[in-house]
């Protein structure tokens, strides 16, 4: 935190570069790789990932910020891809469920979801896992009450919540895995 210093600015004329509304070239960093695509500015990060980059692990549930199925990381923070415009992610690091495993070795959280039977239909699972890994990195998995509160942005209509919490506890309690987020 720094001390406040007044900086006086004056409105500048409309000098910003206008892109769109038609398709424009958008370059994204996704799971460490640079991907270029042609999309309209109105296209969400969710639709760009699924329809243009064929990264369909990220799911479209409500498409209005209520369910968490589309949870991805932008600049290492968990966010909702449905309420994020793809074009606004240029110069940022996007990470999805597809980037979580190390080659053929699942991320510990992916393995824990399998071991703890933390899913039924599986539709919310990628979002749950992206949220759960971030949860541990944030340090919000102290006990079940805290896990429940800080996972509340990910809805599971099969109500697999007890097993999801068990999977998170399992990874939390594995030595040295508390900072599993990249």
């Amino acid at each position: 935190m720094k001390s406040y210093q007044a900086i006086r600015t004056t409105p500048a004329p409309d000098s910003a570069v206008v892109r769109g509304p038609g398709e424009v070239e958008v370059r994204l960093r996704v799971n460490g790789a640079t991907r270029t695509m042609s999309v309209e500015p109105r296209v969400s990060l969710l639709d760009a990932l699924r329809d243009r980059l064929e990264l369909t692990g990220t799911k479209k549930g409500c498409n209005q910020g209520a369910c968490g199925a589309c949870t991805v990381w932008v600049d290492r923070r968990r966010v909702l891809a449905c309420l994020t415009l793809a074009i606004s992610c240029e110069n940022r690091e996007v990470a999805t469920i597809e980037g979580l495993a190390d080659g053929d070795t699942l991320h510990p959280m992916q393995q824990a979801f399998l071991d703890a039977d933390a899913l039924q239909c599986g539709y919310c699972t990628p979002g749950q896992i992206m949220s759960a890994v971030a949860l541990l990195a944030e340090g919000h998995a102290g006990d079940d009450i805290e896990i429940r509160e800080w996972m509340s942005g990910n809805v599971c209509r099969c109500a697999a919540y007890p097993h999801i919490r068990a999977a998170i506890r399992r990874v939390r309690d594995e030595k040295g895995s508390g900072d599993a987020a990249r």
Binding site: T9, P13, P41, Q64, R78, L83, T84, S152
Partner: protein
């Protein structure tokens, strides 16, 4: 969603100049309201001006002992800022009791003040709504209005203001800093939110292109003993049915200083001045808390399904004050 063009700007002057020059444009920050409402055609700007890169995301010390929350500071960052947690706990609590971790990572505090109502008729372009389309009537008056307001309503609009943190900010007498084509303004937060009256479409005294650059929290020692109590249908990730922000100090069994505001029950974040008048200097007893709550809610007007909110708000106020007094008594 309608097609829209996009610009990303790097300085405040260009942001203001660009939006104020184009009546069909809008600022884009966290996007949690803007993208949502564009997708359901409630808002249809032709151009978005992305202000995420502007240097307005810091929490800074103000000369004289206050804090400035940069307009673009994320809810999650402000909630864990040590100076906020220590000096204004009800602000941190209100932030953490709002939305979800993902949304708090996206949404800015200025955007939180600018968010639109969650009234289902406002969000449904097929329904009449004076706020969205002036003159088309208020479908909520005789509709599904369980979540709607009982204070500050008019015959044009009864939509509840959805923010949590704004309730704490109103209790604090925060000041909203703006910058627009006509220069800078400092707007006391109670004046920043307008009652619906006959013009529910006007929610803030801002001109097009005027940007909320920061929110100033004044130095207020009593704010260090404050809390935010939120009652809702489920324990997390839900809007308030009734909420209370309270800062209080007790000396010799009497209330020395009191700040009180309500959320979830009013058309704007509601400073409970009538209750404050009852409580100022009164004994810190349940009897006084109840009298204060009843004084505040005396002008409340129910609309069918939301009548329960009057009693719920009364109980929430009494509980928040009781818990505050107990904490003060054992401090």
């Amino acid at each position: 969603m309608r097609p829209v063009s996009y610009s990303r700007v790097a300085d405040v002057g260009t942001a203001i100049g660009t939006v104020s020059a184009d009546p069909e444009s809008a600022f884009l920050a966290g996007g949690t309201t803007q993208v949502d409402l564009m997708r359901i055609y409630v808002e249809q700007p032709h151009r978005l001006v992305d202000i995420s890169d502007l240097p307005l995301n810091q929490v800074e010390e103000l000369p004289g002992g206050g804090l400035r929350l940069g307009g673009l500071a994320r809810m999650s960052d402000v909630a864990q800022e040590p100076a906020v947690v220590r000096r204004y706990p009800m602000v941190a609590e209100a932030l953490l009791l709002g939305a979800s971790p993902q949304l708090r990572n996206m949404a800015t505090v200025a955007g939180n003040l600018m968010q639109r109502v969650r009234c289902s008729y406002f969000r449904d372009v097929a329904a009449g709504c004076n706020k969205r389309t002036p003159g088309t009537g208020c479908s909520a008056l005789d509709g599904v209005n369980r979540g709607h307001a009982v204070l500050g309503t008019s015959d044009c609009c009864i939509a509840t203001h959805p923010s949590d943190v704004a309730v704490a900010l109103v209790a604090l007498d925060a000041v909203v800093q703006t910058e627009g084509p006509a220069g800078r303004r400092s707007i006391p937060i109670d004046d920043f939110f307008l009652l619906p009256g006959q013009t529910p479409e006007q929610e803030h005294p801002l001109t097009h292109g005027e940007l909320v650059t920061g929110i100033d929290l004044p130095p207020l020692p009593v704010a260090a003993t404050s809390r935010y109590v939120k009652i809702r249908d489920r324990e997390s990730y839900e809007f308030a049915l009734a909420s209370v922000a309270v800062a209080m100090s007790v000396a010799g069994g009497r209330i020395a200083e009191i700040r009180l505001a309500l959320g979830g029950v009013a058309t704007k974040p509601w400073r409970a001045r009538a209750a404050e008048r009852v409580l100022d200097g009164a004994p810190a007893t349940i009897e006084a808390f109840t009298r204060a709550a009843e004084a505040e809610l005396a002008p409340a007007v129910p609309h069918g399904m939301n009548a329960f909110k009057i009693e719920l708000a009364r109980r929430t106020m009494v509980r928040a004050l009781e818990e505050m007094a107990q904490r003060e008594g054992t401090a």
